[in-house]
Amino acid sequence: MSFVSLALFASLIVYMVYFQINDSETLLNSPYNKRQEEAAQEIVRGSILADDGSTALARTDTAEDGTETRVYPYGSLFAQAVGYSVYGGSGLESSRNNDLIQSHSSIVSQMENDLNEQKKAGDNIVTTFNVALQQAAAAAMGDNAGAVIAMDVDTGSVLVDYSSPTYDPNTVEENWDTLTNSDNGIFLNRATQGLYPPGSTFKIVTALAYLRQNGSFDNFSYNCTGTYENAGFTIHCYNYEAHGQETFASAFANSCNCAFAYMSQNNIDKSTFRQTAEDFGLNQAIDTDLDVTTSTFTLDSDTPDQLTMQTAIGQGDTQVTPLQMCMIGQAVANNGVMLKPYFVKSVVTAEGRTIKTTETSTLRQVMDAGQAANLKEAMRGVVQSGTGTAIADLPYNIVGKTGTAEYNSAGDSHSWFVGFSNTGNNDIVVCAIVENGGDGTAPAINVVRQVFATYFGSGS
């Protein structure tokens, strides 16, 4: 009997050790755990740094009398991505709060602080954000609403995460009531959380579905008359333009709605289409440093033809975030390998010692390198001879896909562009959406153009 009791005691002890090793980290980081806030009292909140590891995007200044102020030197530029720290916080200020209010400073400096009755210095976060690129994106967006996101093709690090309209996080507390009452979604990080119809940029997905099912683009041909009628529903090309006889490449370059609606009815199974979309990451939650809204793709075997035709050209019920479109571009650029986007490069102590580093991680192989090459070729056509020629003059082999996404019955549309440089070295992928941009795809192309120009350092 006493052995049973001893076994019970032993199991308690084993469980406690297991609990401490296994579960405590999760519980400590739980958003419900108010001890975080208490811990913060003992620590000067760490800084949030740009990708160079020194430029502060957010820092805490301590005045002579000990009052602390959270300062955002770039004002509204990183408002949604970096966030604010009052009222529960937002952006990285909220999601990486736990890193900022912990101190991994050396024992010596901690003791020194204790002796001097000073607070300890919290750890700093080194983000992946590039100030110059973010500034270029913001300048190009101007007063337009929308979002710009840029990723490193080979690592998945996010260089630009800009959302407009924006606000000044330095004055969030003072302006809280005004800001929360505004109805333009000013706090929303449109790049990661804004859901939009993808418009013609989604033809990248449709194209891969076609490629998967038919092996190559070679056998496709279609004669575009400006409208395509099927199942009692009519799809028309932008401005009812008739593109005439087209190959797959020219249909893609021209962003020919009729051709893609036709292929959705004749060349692509619904199951293949859905599988392709989901492989590209739609309907898949992304667990990263910032909250990302999951993009949705609802097409299945019961979807009526009319909706399938619309879905093929990026209308219908499909809803994507700019980040999602950027990731699709990234997968094509990276020979079919989709990487997990991340916003924090590393966490370092106040003295600069690295505590943890984010490793590049693969989400999945969306397509093989051959298919990726085919898609790149098609996207190259868009810039060289199709709807994206406005960016063709940039000298670094830009490829991409334009989009104009109608978002209401009046025909108002958002302007999209997702594109990447194809130099083979340090390439980036940039995606921009300009809400109600008017003038077709031009506004978004212009924004992306500015980012590329800044990145490659040639001005525009």
Binding site: M1, F9, L12, M16, F19, S24, Y32, R35, E38, D114
Partner: protein, 517 residues
Amino acid sequence: MVKILVQISKYVLLLIMIFFTLETFMVLKRKSDEARRRIMRNQIWLMVLFNTVSYVVMYLQSEEPYMILMLICVIGYILVVQILYRIIYRKASLILLNTMCMILSVGLVMQSRLGIDNARKQFIIAAFATMICFIIPVFIRKVRWVSKLTWLYGIVGILLLGAVLALGRVTGGANLNLNIGGISFQFSEFVKISVVLYMAGMLQERTDFKQVVITTIVVAVHVGILALSADLGAALVYFVAYIVMVYVATRNPGYVALGLGGMAGACIVAYRRFEHVRVRVQVWKDPFSDYEGTGYQIIQALFGVCAGGWFGTGLFNGHPDMIPLAYEDFTFAAICEEFGIIFSICLILLCMGMYLLIVNIALRLDRPFYKLVAIGFGTEYAFQVFLTVGGTTKFIPMTGITLPLVSYGGSSLMCTIAMISIIQGLYIMRKDEDEELEEERRERIRRNRQLQRQPQNREQGFRPQQYRPEQPYRPEQQYRQQQYRPKEQSGQVRQDTGDLERKIEEQTKEDLALRNH
């Protein structure tokens, strides 16, 4: 500067705890009396040091002068109890006493940390209970008929529990306390003692099937009333004590199987029948599913358990105030937070040591009634620790039971001290008997020698009075001798001494076996 002291103090306190725990286990193994005595003295110093460091740190952190007062009181308590035991009950198990004082000290430090008012009350109750319980060992020696009151224990237990249930129904709530003259009594704690006495009384002589069935029915009534009062923790504790005691009395594993089967059945019925049981299981499975409601307590407790890491935050550096009922059901979480996981594991080990000491004593008792009482108390103690620690760390569903000697609660504290005093009484009695037996044996040898020399003086040799002046005067021993005298005069001497001889041999074997264990 204070911060650094607190940081250093937490390692010091941890080291003290580790040493103390190791020493308790060393005594369980160590053979030489001298080594044991040295360890015992050592432990007293460790306790004094533990309390001094704790209260001084708490004073520095809180600047509450009461901390110093508490320190003086607690150290005074430890020293007085130790001295009194050494004077009055020289033969008591000092290691059991030390372990009790240490666990009590940890509890009082934590209570002082959480709220000085509760700590003060807790201390007064502890001191009061200890003083009252001082008479228990004497009582056990003098009053032999306690083992005859079987049905009184059973009836009193049922009446007390029934009263709580009835009044709880009347006032419309699961109120487990009864207020009498401004003092709140939790009867299920007192019944923990009476139910064990009842079972021991029932099973001391007869262990046939009928007897076991009658015992089972009465215990089932106890457990049933508790289940209806929603005091599931206590119900489980009684039930496990019942299974263990029946097994020890009958040595029949069939009863254990039946008992466990019955328990499983009862759990299923309780789960189906009672909403609050389902809620507790649900909360245990996924506390976050109802964070604001039913899961809140356990989640806060878990936050507390992991907040301090291995070494704890140090006293007054954590936030045990965020844990609901930190002074009662979730004291263990508060200890984990400020003293750390390693310290808490030591505390579990210390509780385990306490249990082993009780079992050790139980094994040396040969009267079934006393043996069963000790086993019953030991089981209740161990299982209570298991339920509360397991519940706080979400190892098992929370049963709402407190950690004996540590959690705040007068009834629980009083009853635990009473239980330990009873066990001390049994131990002292056993040692006295051993000594008497030893004495009888020596006497017989001398007598035999005398007989060989002067066979005509045979009758004289049986008079123990002749040898008495050689022994130091001890009241309880005199009592024992008075009791034995009539027997000797009644002419059954030969048979008695024969029995005694066998007993001595058996006991010596048993002792040897124990020590070699």
